[in-house]
């Protein structure tokens, strides 16, 4: 496996412009002769499919939901960053770049991050032109709020539904192209494999989720925009359908998987109230703008929050990190919560929770202002927990939320398989070991609107049309494999549901490869996962047939892939004998309990090459160099 990041030469400010000038173009009349497959209709896939359609390419777009508008991006709450500097508080492209590299704990590629910061402003312009109803000030101009990991206000938002509004913008642009017939939409269709022939991605094999029909789709280039894999933990803030299948199947066909152990545990999830809980609901990070996080000073203090006097409260984030306070980045906030709970100060069910308190903010700003800022989040919390956050503090606990790891891509967003591009959360590119709030929406739209449409043109102009059509033997072989796997899943005839395996895997991953990781725990997980996988294939129960809508079958396929992927994730965590960002190896911490990065040994992207199920994958390294942001210890004190 060759890793050539293809980072353009020259000063970082000029790389993208220069690269764009040097890229080959596809003549407008020839564009319609190229067929591009886009899998996924979230912010990344939706924006890419729409933009490619506008350019004149022939696009086939896929999603497993019944409508492209329901991709998981719809659930994003808090906002999207851009370096507009509208509030005049000292923001700039450089500062957004700097914050993102530092926030990612120096494990992202500088050139990609700089480009992200550069195009961030175009995204806001684009969205406003589409009719995205961002929050506005009384003078009619756009409003901004602050988010964790930054000391400027650069986050644009639409109430607590920013993802919904941005996705509807992209979805509407996509709908326009579907109407214009440049994009053919295939909803309720799941990618089950990628076809690679003679070293080039040729297309995909999919299953129609209503009829069960398996079919092949050939194209000149394939784009995966299939989101992240947080559901490997079973409980996460992600939608229930989020999965690793598309990226894992591509990995099995030769795409390198980078930094799978870099997962983000979000500090403000609602702690699960019991075993029946099927997903964790997120409370937006924006709440930390006005909410104060605390625990009782006395361990095991069971009193209600209101009964605990001020002097007996520990506002531990403000205490430990005076300059960022409650706005420290997510990895820092999550770890600090875990530390307090581990040492007996936790509140709520099982002592796994901390208070997020708005009483001071309500006193200072009034209930109406707080309601205007967070009303829908407060209602959501009230509804789920049956406690009114205007009266009593929320109880929150960290929850799996986002995955920085993903398929390795070069500067052009192409994976190690020529012709296979990966965008949005599915790739590994911009967030290093920790993502800052409001940066995923930015990255998804940057990739889809402003990066991929250029770079894919360069690829197509160089590679030309693919002559392998959907009836080629290469497709037939993959179709057969897909069909056999489905038959196998239906034929096990065991007793345990796919969900029960998923739950067991999730608990194991959360315990051993969650917020705190040790060599010992990871080795235990590495021993347990193959056994669980073996049990799955011996005892899974999938009723029904393959030629109808069969949700248990869909679930079983996804769990089977998680059971393979989890092993690589643990291996990656074991190999990375340092702490950085969301990856906290307990053996490597400073005296104050902060992450201890080991740059001399681990300043690289770890890229895994598939060698067979249960076989140890090969590790390749992309060294990271920092020429613009000085490689330093992150401090939010």
């Amino acid at each position: 496996m060759q890793l050539d990041a293809k980072i353009p030469a020259g000063p970082i400010q000029d790389k993208w412009d220069r690269h764009r000038q040097e890229m080959k173009l596809v003549n407008p009349a020839n564009k319609r002769k190229y067929r591009v497959i886009v899998v996924g209709t979230g912010l990344a896939g939706g924006s890419a499919a729409a933009s490619l359609g506008e350019l004149g390419y022939h696009v086939d777009c896929f999603c497993f939901q019944d409508s492209p508008r329901r991709a998981h991006s719809i659930a994003a709450q808090g906002g999207i960053n851009a370096a507009k500097n509208y509030p005049n508080d000292g923001d700039s492209i450089w500062r957004l770049f700097y914050d993102t590299v530092k926030g990612g704990d120096f494990r992202a590629r500088e050139a990609n991050v700089y480009r992200l910061a550069q195009v961030s402003n175009d995204i806001i312009d684009q969205c406003v032109a589409q009719g995205v109803p961002f929050a506005r000030e009384y003078g009619g101009l756009l409003d901004n709020r602050s988010f964790g990991g930054a000391q400027v206000s650069r986050t644009f938002y639409a109430r607590g539904q920013t993802g919904q509004q941005l996705l509807l913008g992209a979805y509407q642009a996509l709908a326009r192209q579907i109407h214009a017939k440049t994009v053919t939409m295939h909803p309720r269709t799941e990618l089950l494999d990628v076809v690679v022939h003679e070293g080039r991605a040729r297309g995909i094999v999919v299953r129609d989720l209503v009829t069960g029909k398996i079919s092949s789709h050939a194209a000149d280039a394939v784009v995966l925009a299939t989101g992240g894999y947080s559901n490997v933990f079973f409980l996460s803030t992600n939608a229930k359908g989020c999965n690793v299948t598309a990226t894992w199947r591509a990995h099995r066909r030769g795409a390198g998987f980078a930094n799978p152990c870099f997962t983000q545990i979000h500090p403000t999830g609602i702690p699960p109230s019991g075993d029946h809980v099927s997903k964790t609901t997120l409370m937006s990070e924006s709440l930390r703008n006005d909410g104060r996080v605390w625990v009782p000073k006395k361990p095991g203090d069971k009193r209600a929050a209101a009964q605990i006097p001020e002097s007996e409260r520990d506002y531990y984030l403000e205490r430990r990190y005076p300059s960022f306070g409650n706005l420290v980045p997510r990895d820092v906030a999550s770890r600090a919560a875990k530390e307090r709970c581990d040492s007996g100060h936790g509140v709520g069910p099982g002592g796994r929770g901390v208070f997020l308190d708005f009483q001071d903010a309500i006193k200072r700003l009034g209930r109406d202002t707080i309601a205007a800022r967070y009303g829908n989040l407060f209602d959501m919390y009230h509804h789920i927990v049956d406690v009114d956050p205007y009266q009593a503090p929320m109880v929150i606990y960290p929850a799996p939320h986002y995955t920085m790891g993903g398929l390795w891509v070069d500067y052009n967003l192409m994976s190690t398989i020529p012709g296979l591009h990966v965008i949005g959360e599915a790739n590994f590119s911009d967030h290093g070991a920790n993502r800052l709030g409001a940066s995923a929406l930015m990255q998804g739209l940057a990739d889809g609107y402003f990066v991929l449409p250029y770079t894919i043109g360069d690829y197509l102009a160089r590679a030309g049309n693919s002559d392998v059509k959907a009836d080629h033997a290469a497709f037939q072989a993959v179709e057969r494999e897909v069909g056999e796997r489905i038959k196998k899943l239906l034929g096990v005839g065991g007793k345990r549901s796919p969900d029960s395996f998923h739950q067991e895997l999730g608990r194991l991953m959360w315990d051993k490869c969650g917020m705190g990781r040790t060599a010992e725990g990871l080795n235990e997980a590495l021993a347990r996962i193959p056994a669980l996988r073996e049990e799955f294939w011996r005892d899974v129960a999938v009723p029904g047939t393959g030629d109808t809508l069969n949700q248990t079958l869909e679930k079983a396929g996804r769990v089977a892939d998680f059971l393979e992927f989890a092993e690589t994730m643990c291996l990656d965590a074991l190999e990375r004998a340092e702490s950085c960002g969301g990856h906290f190896r307990e053996e490597y911490q400073t005296k104050e309990g902060e992450a201890l990065r080991r740059d001399d040994e681990f300043c690289y992207g770890a890229v895994w090459e598939f060698r067979g199920v249960g076989e140890r994958p090969a590790l390749h390294k992309e060294p990271l160099t920092f020429e613009n942001v000085h490689l330093s210890t992150r401090s939010y004190k």
């Binding site: 939901q65 719809i74 684009q126 589409q130 506005r136 326009r176 609107y449 009723p543």
Partner: protein, 250 residues
């Protein structure tokens, strides 16, 4: 808690359907409605039976995927929630609960509680957008938008496209859904240029899909999990009338 569930089961689009009865027991009040169905499905799978097919994804009231009629009301008799936001504490121990799919001529049943709502996408495809291409757009702050207009646009844009309005309407009309998109864009300066042709194209598509007419029952607003205002329907009707008159003139 224990409940008797009467659930609509239908093996496929052309198969006959019927209500089937299930007993569930040992449910805690903080369990959500969908989690209760999950538990029932786990049991059915263990017994080698087909679990109940139903749609869901985000499970937090924003994706618009979940779509059950609970005790005769789309989503649930509770106000302003989606099915996935309903908790068992809203029911009484021992209740008999009826669960059916969203029904409408334009929403054919695919299996059990899963229906095809593709018609709603086609209404948007007909014109529910601003025709701007990627790139080349002016600075976002070039055109100020009055705070009240932006807020009103956001009220309309909050629609999650679940189709509860259609399922609640005695005429299976999609007026509230369509009006929400029309009103979202009509409240913004960016939406003005195509305002007339948008409303015409969307209303025509709505009719072509076989949705019924609006006869002012307002069941749609009562069932809407996002409490989208029926006033938007009045706005759409005005716009449509104006647009049709202008088209006749032309």
């Amino acid at each position: 808690m224990r409940f008797t569930l009467k659930v609509w089961r239908q093996a496929g689009p052309d198969a006959p359907g019927a209500m089937q009865s299930y007993e569930v027991d040992g449910i805690t009040p903080e369990t959500s409605f969908l989690e209760m169905i999950d538990l029932l499905n786990e049991r059915l799978i263990a017994e080698g039976k087909d679990p109940i097919a139903f749609e869901h994804d985000c499970r937090e009231g924003i994706c618009g995927m979940c779509s059950m009629v609970i005790d005769g009301v789309p989503h649930s008799p509770e106000r302003a929630v989606t099915t996935c936001q309903v908790h068992m504490r809203s029911f009484r121990d021992g209740d008999e609960i009826h669960v059916e799919p969203f029904r409408a001529r334009a929403f054919p049943v695919l299996r059990d509680l899963v229906v095809d709502r593709g018609a709603l996408d086609r209404i948007i495809e007909a014109g529910g957008y601003v025709s701007v291409k990627t790139g080349g757009t002016p600075d976002a702050n070039l055109i100020p938008v009055a705070h009240a207009d932006a807020e009103r646009a956001m009220d309309a844009a909050s629609c999650i496209g679940c189709g509860a309005c259609v399922a609640a309407c005695p005429n299976a009309s999609a007026m509230l859904f369509t009006a929400a998109k029309v009103a979202h864009l009509a409240h913004l300066p960016q939406g003005q240029v195509e305002r007339a042709q948008r409303v015409r194209a969307m209303v025509e598509q709505m009719d072509a899909e076989g949705f019924g007419n609006c006869t002012n029952h307002y069941e749609c607003m009562a069932a809407c999990p996002k409490e989208i205002d029926v006033e938007f329907i009045a706005l759409m009707n005005r716009d449509y009338l104006k647009a049709s008159l202008a088209a006749d003139d032309a």
